[in-house]
Amino acid sequence: MKLTLIIWRQQNASAKGGMQTYTLDDVSPDMSFLEMMDVLNEQLMGQGIDPVAFDHDCREGICGSCSMFINGEAHGPDRLITTCQLHMRKFKDGDTIHIEPFRAKPFPVIKDLVVDRTAFDRIQHAGGFVSVNTSGNTQDANSLPIEKQAADKAFDAAACIGCGACVASCKNASAMLFVSAKVSQYALLPQGQVEATDRVLNMVKQMDEEGFGNCTNTGACEVECPKGISLENIARMNREYLTANLKG
């Protein structure tokens, strides 16, 4: 396949960026999208051009590192997968592909397609945990049965990989899907309920301080989420938040 790639290039956080056009011949449909980027980078290096920087690590859809906005969609045209799992057979010979970083004010560009997502970490520092020491001197794991349905739902929320596709897809750059997934995981389990009030208040406060926008229920985040995190979690977080405020 022959492709035209239009890619966001930005030297560093303070530099002004812009789109650059490159052409690539001989792309195999069996390549993953990131392998196509590897081939491009080898080509660029041969031409004395700085390779395109992008985040990636596990290349099997679980670490949450890769973060490209491809033809206007986070992680590209396919559903329920990350960029690293996207394969070139989803494209046609002669296609033009636009590749941009995940854009949001709380995700400043570091270089090219690499953005700084540490805002997500800071939200977790504010309350994304159960305050139990790792001494191992806790009660036996089976002393507290948990309804299977609740455990399964908690797992579904916990499957979030923290990639930021939800933020990049939202016109308000809202992080509600991400934050609500963590709040929900704990809210659904008895271990998490003890600190539920403080958790939701602290995490939402931090989310706002980071500059993420509000949720206006467009549902774009759910559509683009590579792990299928449900909007239901946002509704649950809103309930938790309201309850916490009434208590507080």
Partner: protein, 667 residues
Amino acid sequence: MAPLDAKIPQGPIADKWTNHKNNIRLVSPANKRQIDVIVVGTGLAGGSAAATLAELGYNVKAFCYQDSPRRAHSIAAQGGINAAKNYQGDGDSIYRLFYDTVKGGDYRSREANVYRLAEVSSNIIDQCVAQGVPFARDYGGLLDNRSFGGVLVSRTFYAKGQTGQQLLLGAYSAMNRQIGRGKIKMYNRHEMLDLVKVEGKARGIITRNLVTGAIERHAAHAVVIASGGYGNLFYLSTNAMGSNVTAAWKIHKQGAHFANPCFTQIHPTCIPVSGEHQSKLTLMSESLRNDGRIWVPKKKADAQAIREGKRKPIDLAEEDRDYYLERRYPAFGNLVPRDVASRAAKERCDEGYGVNKTGEAVFLDFADAIVRYGKEKAHVKGLDENDMDLVRKLGKEIIKAKYGNLFQMYEKIVDQNPYETPMMIYPAVHYTMGGVWVDYNLMTSIPGCFAIGEANFSDHGANRLGASALMQGLADGYFVLPYTIGDYLADDIRTGAISTETAEFEAAEKNVRAQIDALISNKGTKTVDYFHRKLGKIIWNKCGMSRNEKELKEAMKEVKALREAFYKEVFVPGTPDSFNESLAKALRVADFLELGELFAKDALQRTESCGGHFREESQSPEGEALRDDENFTYVSAWEYKGEPSKAKLHQEQLNYENIELKTRSYK
């Protein structure tokens, strides 16, 4: 250098750990506040250690090369975590977990360490549940278990096919709590590039900030290496792209012995290589071997027709298929341990029975399981068990519920529907049992420098059993290191803060800068990946699933030649003081190019076959691995002597006092 002393406590094996904990020195809470500890790596081992050390009161500095500790490659572990809970009442016990692990490791691990691992395994599950890790549960609300290869009980706890993710997020949450309290200072996107020793003790590290390129000095009273395994030595592996040996290799060059480097786990069920562009390999969970049957065509002509696309596997009659694992190992069948299954696949493909374009793939077939489950379901529902369309439909639904995410992953990568046609699989590098040598306290041969998780060598011998890596990472980090490090740090309560303004830090920083400058100013013609690929090919072809003296000697020479070519011809674009992934990669590959030679040397020296290490010269007439207990019941710990090929061998004898050495048989 002092002789190798593993410092195994005296007394009966079941009491060793308890007695040891009761007798080692403690550091008071007030003194812990005066002590700094560096942890390199934030996977299951490093993340859990950082969190626990901070809870205990130490000041922790944690480092990871990823943009967040949550992305360490532990996150990709699929199957599960073992623990001797005996919740299923199937006769499991600490002793059995201990025994299975030692046997699975082909009797090349240290008894006392493995027993301790089995002993603390139960605590891990309690701890994780308390942290809110959503393990799979049954309808009664209690924790569910599954079985893994090489054992006869159900002791594996899991969270769908994402157990590693959930456990890592648990450790990450414990870290977050301490980061929020200011007890852990987290350094994301930082790579450790050297260890700093002061008066022979580990006192700090030199790092490179991967965003700005800044070279930084960090001091501490102890340094913990939790940087994972070195599977990327093979270029293609199931490891993450950034996984590297640098931290472990740098401490090796500073005096830490490197143990059993050639012990590598090659996992039998991975998606085969599709072409030259391939950047990494994807694992298909071992759990698939519970229901999938592995086969190749019986006739070479059929295999060739399938390779050329002239025949379809589903058209091959039952009698024309060779279910070679069931044929060779009737007792364990498709559930033999990983090393055995991998070698058997290679044997068939080498003989010309491979089934994909490259000739390096075998089938993993679910057709029988679909029919079996479908009939069962039809029976339960009172439907017609002879209506094959209905049976297949019902069967597929059950397979989907069990392995749906894996089937989806396969289809996305290979573009074939595994419900309709058998999967193609081939072995791939997955885990390294070898690693930094540590004593019972997990301390390396450098005082004050510790190694935990996959980075050390201690628990898995020559072959790791499924679902044991997560167990070891968390055991080391939550329950072992935080105790044993206190015994060492008890001497440091009056030391005071360690300064980075010393000649030792100065010299280490200078070395790091010189290495970086040399790479950047080299201006050669070949990219870093060019060398990494070449290195991978040498190691895979000559030190892979099957090894012999001639090829190992060749490999040593070729790796050395490649290393020399690297320093002459490599091209690293960009500048040292910016985000520069090529430079980061070049620094990692430089270390792999040294490790590769030691890896081959170790494989050459060990003329027996054991676990994942198969020497062609040491096999039975039926082609099974032949161990040599008389001459090789020891750990090979290599001391760096200026060049990998000159490394000096130290032997730690392995004494089996509780388990009798036997030939592993899965027939």
